[in-house]
């Protein structure tokens, strides 16, 4: 009102032109401010809990793709300003499921959030079936599935450092070489201390003394390295005494349960995973050449008052002979891994066909590991009560 008075005010009191101009300016500024305000669309609403209809305080309302956002106040109310509609807003609060909403009209709205109970519904495989993790009292660890992807030739490499309470010591650096796994420490001096492996229900005892592999003694290779880590669905490790309850004395050193992948109902899925890498010795020892070594030997003998071991002529005859035997024994070794799998099925039949190829040239010449694996898993429901698995 004051602005208008100024505009229409008493001309005699003020220099007419300046007041009119100022008035016009003020009026113009007010109008433009109003129009700027009109561009903002306010989305107002209230956030309530679905079942009890109580207000949700502190729910975060975010406008997708924009920086705009708000939180609900003590009464559950919120206001978000946007420039155009429609927008997608995501409403989240701790303990509730995130609700995404597309807003097409800026009517005051009520948003109902449903509780997210988030109970542990994960299932772990134990010796005598499966159990919910929330109900589990024994000591069981599961290998995170992403770790399996990092496994090299054998899945044991993935166990290393991934699970608490188990010690994995690589017994051989050769490709395909085994690792000694201790779950419950060393129990026996004469007997084995290795855990029992159960692969899809079949117990396999893996003796670490058979896992030697290398350039010189080409003994049996770790049988576990014959399993393609890409075929493994889950690895559960039973660490406590309950393991012995079902597997008897063989489970005294702990049990590692390996479940392989099965066919899944749904659209046919083809997966290819591959990797290629070069392995190289990280550090080679710098050594003297033959002549340098002879001179050093002579110097050492001279220091202790003895005669020289080699004459100057002998040393000269060595010339520039300089063989680096490390180079002769070591190489840059390629490692490649390819997995191709087909998974699919319907309500009655599910299949999983996978083939994998791993080739690891050891950095020491003479060591290498090659694995070509093919696996077919077929589950068929012949009737309501009759299933076949292969």
């Amino acid at each position: 009102m004051t602005k208008l008075l100024l505009f229409f005010g008493n001309y005699k009191k003020f220099p007419v032109h300046s007041v009119r101009k100022a008035g016009l300016l003020v009026l113009f500024a007010t109008i433009s401010a109003l129009s700027a305000f009109a561009q903002q669309i306010e989305i107002k609403g209230k956030v309530l809990e679905e079942s009890t209809k109580t207000t949700v305080i502190g729910a975060v309302i975010k406008v997708k793709g924009l920086k705009a956002g708000a939180t609900s106040d003590a009464n559950g109310n919120f206001t978000v300003k946007v420039k155009v509609l429609p927008v997608t807003i995501a409403v989240s609060a701790v303990g509730f499921k995130v609700q995404e909403i597309e807003v097409y009209e800026a009517d005051p709205t009520t948003i109902y959030l449903t509780e997210d109970q988030n109970r542990l519904s994960n299932v772990v495989v134990i010796g005598y079936g499966t159990q919910k993790r929330s109900e589990l009292t024994g000591s069981i660890s599961s290998l995170p599935t992403d770790k399996l992807k990092q496994a090299g030739a054998s899945f044991e490499n993935a166990l290393q450092g991934a699970i608490s309470g188990i010690q994995v010591t690589q017994s051989s650096g050769a490709p395909g070489g085994g690792a000694s796994i201790r779950i419950r420490g060393g129990n026996s001096i004469t007997g084995g201390n290795d855990p029992l492996y159960v692969i899809d229900g079949f117990p396999v005892y893996n003796n670490s003394s058979e896992t030697n592999a290398g350039a010189l003694n080409s003994q049996a290779i770790n049988p576990l390295s014959s399993i393609n880590p890409g075929d493994i669905e889950s690895v559960d490790i039973l660490k406590d005494a309950s393991a012995t309850a079902i597997y008897g004395s063989r489970g005294a050193n702990g049990v590692i349960i390996i479940t392989t992948k099965k066919g899944k109902t749904g659209a046919n899925k083809v997966t290819y995973e591959g990797s290629y890498g070069i392995q190289t010795a990280t550090n080679k020892i710098k050594l003297l050449s033959a002549k340098e070594w002879g001179q050093l030997k002579n110097d050492a003998r001279a220091n202790s008052g003895k005669t020289a071991a080699y004459t100057a002529a002998q040393l000269d005859s060595l010339g520039s002979v300089n063989n680096d035997w490390q180079d002769a024994a070591l190489r840059n070794a390629a490692i490649q891994n390819h997995n191709l799998s087909f998974v699919g099925g319907n309500d009655k039949t599910r299949y999983s066909v996978s083939t994998g190829y791993l080739k690891q040239d050891g950095i020491l010449i003479g060591t290498d590991f090659q694995r070509l694996s093919t696996r077919v898993a077929l589950d068929s429901k012949l009737s309501e009560k009759f299933n076949t698995n292969s």
Binding site: E50, Q99, E100, I101, E102, V103, Y104, E105, I111, Y112
Partner: protein, 309 residues
Amino acid sequence: MKTNYFYQVLFTLFISSSVFATENAVKEPVVISGTKFTYPLIEKWITEYEKVNPTANIKLAAKANGGQTADLNIIAHQPAQNELQPNQEIIYAGRYALLPVTNNNNPILAATAKKGLNKKELDKLFFEVIDYDSDEPVQKSKFRANIYSRDNQACASTALAGYFGHQSSEIRGKKVFGDDIYLLSAIKKDSIGLAFNNLGYLYDVNSRNLKEGIALLPLDLKKEAKTILSGNLDEVLSVLEVNRVETVPVEKIGFVYSNQNARKEVSDFVKWVLTDGQKFNHDKGFLNLDKQALAEQAGRLSERFLTLK
């Protein structure tokens, strides 16, 4: 002299305004409000009613502007136990059907073209029930889809969930606020978007054909109901008028009125809707009540409003 003239004008204005005011009080309009997707039908009813009753004054109000004070509130779902006030009652005046619809580029169309989805598969697609105490893993539909639905309190959501035996909070996916028509906008943008929508919005009521950019989800239908997917509104309506189709939820539309402040103008309009008004239902993509139900509703209406005559 000038001042006197001014006062005269002021006085006249005052008198005339009070006269207008009293006139307004006498001819207070009948206000109708409620579920938005029924508005095209309600509007049609009002215009047709006012043609035969030129003195009638019926107003269709947006929900936000005082749904509380409306004489008739439109409801398009079965009310929950405590939803209605003790003095409120419903007179049903029509039905509507919900059909599952998707973007016409959705790969699900090709995947389900042969057999079509049955009620169980639709249930799996649209609803998610989390039973934390159950040992059974949650069954998921094999199709990838983004479900769009109205907010949980909206009539269409409540009716849809009720038909499948769920709570509306168990409908998966994103919510769309505003009106049911925006569900179509949402699925047009999303190639794997799925939604249920009523026939009045799915079809162009003038050309009677399905709107562009959308496609009906193939359903597992019996022989006599196959024409539901034909793409023609009249064929869908004629099938649904006589058949109960398992995969197609059909729900009644009613007027909620308070029997405390019942007015004759209101009852006259509702009576007209139950008789002459029914022939406009198909025009806007809505179904009629069957004859028995109509007679029942009309009977209830005359019982209630007998005293008003």
